[in-house]
């Protein structure tokens, strides 16, 4: 384990950036193309994780533990968000018998 991590030093930071950007974009595409609220939710989780990874990478890069603390907070937030969000979805399903986001078009005017 020690060995592995010390050897990790070779990966340039911007490769992490690319990776996270790609995953983040995949999350965005998911949000854009899917209509199932739960899948959209999952895509959001993907985006959050991409950010988490990037934060960790930068934390390591600049030798600052605050970045990782942030990730920890984001995780706490994600947990809260998922709890409330899924509760809302359940509610919506109960009322509309559907979790198609296009059904939720009352948010206008």
């Amino acid at each position: 384990m020690e060995n592995l991590t010390t050897q990790m030093a070779g990966v340039p930071l911007n490769h992490y950036i690319y990776l996270c950007a790609i995953i983040f974009t995949i999350g965005v595409i998911g949000v854009l193309t899917r209509r199932n609220a739960i899948v959209i939710f999952m895509s959001v989780e993907l985006m959050l994780n991409a950010v988490n990874l990037l934060l960790t990478a930068f934390s390591v890069h600049s030798n600052d533990p605050s970045g990782q603390v942030f990730v920890f907070f984001i995780m706490a937030l994600a947990a809260a968000e998922v709890a409330v969000g899924l509760a809302i979805i359940v509610m919506v399903y109960r009322n509309t018998k559907s979790i198609d986001i296009n059904v939720l078009n009352r948010l206008k005017w």
Binding site: T5, M8, P12, V28, A57, M91
Partner: protein, 167 residues
Amino acid sequence: MSTQVFYFVATLSIIFSLMVIFAKNPIHSVLYLILTFFTFTVHYVLLNAQFLAVVNFIVYMGAIMVLFLFVLMLLNLNNETEPSKSPLIKIVGVIAGCCLVVTLVGSFKAASINSPLILKNQGLGLVENLGKELFGPFLLPFELSSLLLLAAMVGAVLLSKKDEVEA
């Protein structure tokens, strides 16, 4: 050798996350998401962020994903229930996503931080280190996050409760 490990795991992450959004069945999506998260855990380990790796494993793969699966099963959804979007929207969505990635990557390239990642402090991601941070300068946010979680819990309970019979 280990750089190769990174690229390998990164490829897996991308593939799995693609599967998440392209899988027809939401259950499959969730499963692929769990795999994606697992690759992320590996990434954390590679970055020597052991505490985060563990937390990620427990919270995301454990708690959150179980919640997703639970809800999916509760609602008894399958692929037929989701009306697919029109192809046009899909294509536009993909194009927009591509634009986003191009822009993101392009802007990062312009920033060009390509110095290799060097781990200066071996104990950076260890529990001890993070604990000192958390309970030191970040004590107040930490305590506030507990409030947040409490609020979320209360909210979730309140929301998922069946409405009282309206008068």
